[in-house]
Amino acid sequence: MAYTEEELKKELETKEYEYGFYTDIESDTFPKGLSEDIVIAISQKKQEPEWMTEWRLEAFRIWKEMEEPEWANVKYEKPNFQEISYYSAPNKKPKYNSLDEVDPELLDTFKRLGISLDEQKKLAGVAVDIVMDSVSVATTFKKTLAEKGIIFCSISEAIKEHPELVKKYIGTVVPRKDNFYAALNSAVFSDGSFCYIPKGVRCPMELSTYFRINQAGTGQFERTLVIADEGSYVSYLEGCTAPSRDENQLHAAVVELIALDDAEIKYSTVQNWFPGDKDGNGGVFNFVTKRGICETNAKISWTQVETGSAVTWKYPSCVLKGDNSIGEFYSIAVTNNFQQADTGTKMIHLGKNTKSTIISKGISAGQSQNSYRGLVQVNSRAENARNFSQCDSLLMGNKCGAHTFPYIEAKNKSAQIEHEATTSKIGEDQIFYCNQRGIDTEKAIALIVNGFSKEVLNKLPMEFAVEAQKLLEISLEGSVG
């Protein structure tokens, strides 16, 4: 076996997206297109109160006046927003009280996704909320959590059952007019997860949401709202997959995190949306707005492993509003074939003695483009703000690109900002060294990539770290130059 670049590239092309199956579940899908009527219909379908309908309509009006942003370092054919269906739900029972009631086809889907709900139950480590297409289909461990006063449910349910919380916080971190996709999401979001941790409560288990786009021609617009009340702690996981289709699917989510005084939120994502085929056809457009706000002494950590999507546009950010608050961003972004990722973070220092850390690891293979874009902003009143950023890029082959766009705006002289960046390439010498020790090329790449990403992988909760490691291996099988 020779390891010339050409042969390796061929090898790489043959790897397939293993979550690319489509489940034949009857679903209730809206006609394509977007109008005020559709927005009202979504809201009615979800039996929402009037204030929510109005909130959506206002978002829709804002969105109509906005233009799709073009500043990101990605090229793609803009979606035709009238060609997308904005609501699709598995048809059978809209709500399940126990797993026994869930459509067996659906359960089978979850098994293939590697999330056996039964097993999860037995392991008793993770509570899962699953969002298929537009509707949350199963939330586990509700009772256990309720005993501690923790609310973990779909956002639709939260709008009905806990309107005071939703009303108070939705749109406060990511306003409707924030950006084009956030406005769109605010108008049409169909489901998502909601989580509230009461004062002083430490959530006893990882909370997890699993997103899946199933139907063709549908967009997925989920909305997640996590509120950690004073002195509470929660670790939240999010996973995503989609079937292989040769058309592009749109995913425009909004995640808002609110960490009140002394609270801590750890938010981890393993994103594995369909990346498109080896020729760059199909794949998910992933345009996501994620932002958290930290009050006094609060802390938010974003950890993400991004291996999927044809185009990714995502900047999980922290607004460090309170004094002594801490924001962290740990990211691994892998691009292969024709994937494009423009991802990074924004750390907005408003309070005194605020600290932020950014560790970004970009891995590019094939003909992909991988950009880090980050903003560190220190407000004039933010005395003694500190930031450390480290952006490392690893390249495989010589047709891919790695880009770093760090923006630093410091308006207070006491700010300390450090930025480090490195770029390296997996060398044939490294591969040969591993080969000589009996490690084949694929395993060698996995080893090297895992080593490169270690600082970030270590930040993931155990259950997720293993999955993420495997995902890195699959995403990069055979790619070296």
């Binding site: 490294q430 009996g438 395993k443 090297i448």
Partner: protein, 250 residues
């Protein structure tokens, strides 16, 4: 154990090895000496199966099996070990993790289960003590920030862990001070056995004072021009490589 017949090898159409013949039997230590550019490191790389070298003619066989069609990792599974002249860095991968992966991959190739963790730990303890390696060193990233001596000692540690049939030490003495040289050589001597063989590639006679070879070969311009016993190394030390060069011309 190793039989090389009329081996010709090129890189980018430039012929480097021009007809090497070498027979290494179990239990033997062979030294290959020669001036810079004579093809010593190329020979080591070709035996290990590095792709950038093309074998044009001749054959290499290990225990009677022709190696030509085998990938580098398959050769490693068969028991060939190369101690690199310039070991590469792999950031974020600890020495222990690297060795665990290497050993288990080789076991997998032989149809064996992964080595149980306690056995692995015992092996690591044993071999690190033998080579006077501080175990803290083993949790550091492979070769990253290692001194020249640490890199070489780490190579020999890996050799001890992998227990190869045929070990090729490519300029293992370069970059070593005298203390490190002694430790490394002692380690190698402890690994000598009736069942395995070692090829020591070196520029200087110095290492051969510690690792005493059964045979010494002098490589010049891609050919073995002189073979003898350990006395040949001393003679070379005395007269320099020019003596060999002149002799070949004559």
């Amino acid at each position: 154990m190793l039989e090389i017949k009329n081996l010709h090898a090129s890189v980018e159409d430039k012929e480097i090895l021009k007809g090497i013949n070498l027979q290494v039997n179990p239990g033997e230590v062979h030294a290959i000496m020669g001036p810079n550019g004579s093809g010593k490191s190329t020979l080591a790389s070709v035996i290990a199966g590095k792709e950038e070298f093309e074998v044009k003619k001749g054959s290499i066989a290990l225990e009677g099996e022709d190696l030509e069609e085998l990938a580098p990792e398959e050769r490693a599974h068969k028991g060939i070990f190369l101690s690199f002249q310039y070991p590469v860095e792999i950031p974020g991968v600890s020495v222990t993790n690297f060795m665990r992966t290497a050993i288990n991959e080789s076991r997998k190739a032989r149809g064996l289960e992964d080595m149980p963790a306690n056995q692995m730990l015992k092996l690591i303890r044993e071999k690190s003590e033998m080579l006077e390696i501080d175990r803290k060193f083993l949790s550091r990233s492979l070769n990253e920030g290692f001194s020249g001596g640490e890199k070489k000692r780490n190579e020999i540690f890996q050799m001890a862990m992998m227990e190869p049939k045929l070990a090729i030490l490519d300029e293992t003495d370069s970059g070593l001070d005298i203390d490190a040289l002694r430790i490394v050589a002692n380690g190698v001597n402890k690994l000598r056995g009736k069942e395995n063989a070692i090829i020591v590639i070196t520029h200087y006679q110095r290492l051969l004072e510690y690792i005493v070879p059964d045979f010494v070969h002098v490589l010049h311009d891609g050919k073995i021009v002189k073979s003898g016993t350990k006395e040949l190394a001393l003679e070379l030390e005395d007269k320099g490589y020019d003596w060999i060069k002149q002799e070949t011309v004559v």
